[in-house]
Symmetry: C2
Subunit: 248 residues, 2 copies
Amino acid sequence: MPVPSPPTRRPTVAMLVIGDEILTGKVTDANSPWVASRCRELGLSLCRIIVLPDVLDEIAAAVAEWSRRVDFVLTSGGVGPTHDDLTMAGIARGLGRQVERHGELDRVLQERMGKRYTPAAGRMADVPAGATLWWDGELAFPQVVVDNIIVFPGVPALLRLKFDAIAHRFGGTPTQTRRLVTTAAESEIADALRTVQAEHPAVAIGSYPQYDRRPWTVTITLDGYDTELLDACERAVSALVGDRFPHA
Amino acid sequence: MPVPSPPTRRPTVAMLVIGDEILTGKVTDANSPWVASRCRELGLSLCRIIVLPDVLDEIAAAVAEWSRRVDFVLTSGGVGPTHDDLTMAGIARGLGRQVERHGELDRVLQERMGKRYTPAAGRMADVPAGATLWWDGELAFPQVVVDNIIVFPGVPALLRLKFDAIAHRFGGTPTQTRRLVTTAAESEIADALRTVQAEHPAVAIGSYPQYDRRPWTVTITLDGYDTELLDACERAVSALVGDRFPHA
């Protein structure tokens, strides 16, 4: 449903997941579900998740579009040293910049890698002109940021570590979610739910049927910032589904 | 990496996952990983996965763009009877059409639902003008198709049933995937891998590090249609990583 206007403006986010391995189903993207959940908790509005192939012009076009449309673009993947790692070059092209060797980043790589540092490893210090490094929290390796584009690695454990280290910079207002589960059919309650939504514009109501086990149920979710408005909306939905709660 | 030109043209696919519940992380999208994997097996080129909010104009814009850019657009979600189910209206707007009650689909709903049929349920028969129904295989409920847009339900079990029933219509050429796992570091083999890729343009080489357990490994994948060309490429990669295979 269209998310109602919140009492405070929520920072907007788009996530670009970069990698043929996701589009070919060889690897399941564990990053975007995790980021989506964290964005909700932090009060950020995740507007889009886009999975892109390892193709320079496709990455560039998505970066150009979304860096204008949202407050923060998060990318995951495509930052290693191999021929299919094109995220930095794609961001540079999308912003109309050159890729340059970043002196500080190169020194960090050399220190961390020691003898394992190779010319190929050095390519991981090639970033778009104007990139900055965030050394937040306990990060052993800095977060690379280009304008409003935050460049995460594809490896889930590393992405999570970095995301949580820098999350304080997003400035969101945490939201609350309420859940009601009912055995009423979606088609039975749809009209009434539409009315409740209209009467409670500060709460976003979602409805999600589960058919994978009996009894079939519908989960109704209520999202909002304001506890009193959430309470009122929850009472209205409870009245609507009556005592149709599953006894499972 | 840029996927090399295949010997036969692969039909192109884009997947639009529609639903605030995915963007808020309340529900993990199980559909796009499954579809990605099936597309690879069927020899279809999945070019993009886009997760969209339940917002009419956003759905319409994505439909307008991708129905022109690829052979098949698959949508999942947003086809139930509630106020947040906007996929049909979004597709109609994207194609510049009206939404109309589909007589045959409405009769099917009435037959299947019996007493559970309500005015809200009837809205599930409201589809873009010009929509057609595919009654493939053992489908109890038809597949709704609008031009090159195939409208799947969001419920994973139903999506899979319908996808497999209609998969024969896509016309793909099945691909093969080979996998090699090595303990060599990505930065050690990156340059050599780039050369092997240049020498074997009919095979798409991917490289994916795993850092979640020791020893760290890199999985190298080879995708192609031609067994002999895959064999040759696999020999070249094996020679490159030598005996650096994990003994796990």
